[in-house]
Symmetry: C2
Subunit: 152 residues, 2 copies
């Protein structure tokens, strides 16, 4: 049996679904002047403010080479402030400005405005999310094992 056709690939379904979802977010985020990854960073900060770049990277699974320029743009937009930690000068704390905190209210309506477009019920969405979380966790665990194997 042929395993290569596009429509049989989970990876391709993921790829297109992700782009379809972010495409639906785009007009709503445009109203807030945010890109999709910037929105995710703010979600993380609204949930817990005053995080280091490293901590944000762990939450979003992004490294500093992606986050640093993104945070610079959020800072230029006046939504966050960055400052070196006094106790460890290597680290930088990212903090919401008043304007950045205020945006939360406007963003709160976004999920509700999109859920109904998806054609899936709430239960299905939660199941999908949980399956994706398990998949991600397994892939990353596996990745760490492989990486470890290189150092043996």
């Amino acid at each position: 049996m042929d395993v290569l056709p596009l429509d049989r690939q989970v990876c391709f379904a993921l790829y297109t679904a992700t782009r379809a979802v972010t495409a639906r977010y785009r007009p709503l985020l445009d109203e807030l002047g945010l890109t999709y990854p910037q929105y995710l960073v703010l979600l993380a900060l609204w949930e817990q403010d005053q995080r280091t770049v490293k901590d944000l990277g762990a939450a979003l699974r992004l490294d500093s080479s992606t986050l640093s320029p993104l945070l610079k743009r959020l800072e230029a937009a006046g939504l966050v402030a960055r400052e070196r930690r006094a106790d460890d000068e290597r680290s930088v704390t990212v903090r919401l400005t008043a304007e950045g905190s205020a945006l939360r209210t406007r963003a709160a309506g976004i999920p509700a405005r999109l859920v109904c477009d998806g054609g899936l019920g709430l239960g299905e969405l939660e199941e999908l999310r949980d399956t994706l979380v398990r998949l991600t966790a397994a892939l990353q665990r596996q990745g760490e094992i492989d990486a470890g194997a290189l150092h043996r």
Copy 2:
């Protein structure tokens, strides 16, 4: 109830799962000298050769501004050839070279090498894929309706 935390967002689960999956593909595709989107284009061409840029775009849900430079790189790598159609000079036909066709054999092993890493059973993977396909379809249908509304 708070709807904004990162871990409740389907969109974030999609975002991280997609990146985790492509990260697992990367070392295997490196062996073939391909990026992930280039691999998807080849999947489409292995399934049906001699497609126009527009047709490839419909299959992959990408537009020419993404595909044109990507195809140029595949052409530079000697995997595909491009030529203007005689019957419609606006269109360009993308065709696999012998080298591009030959790569299929080496790529055929990739899905099997990855499935076991995902921590999901085959049935779960297929269910996940089908859910994602439905989600994508609904979002795109909804997007077309919205776009139509703008022209009224």
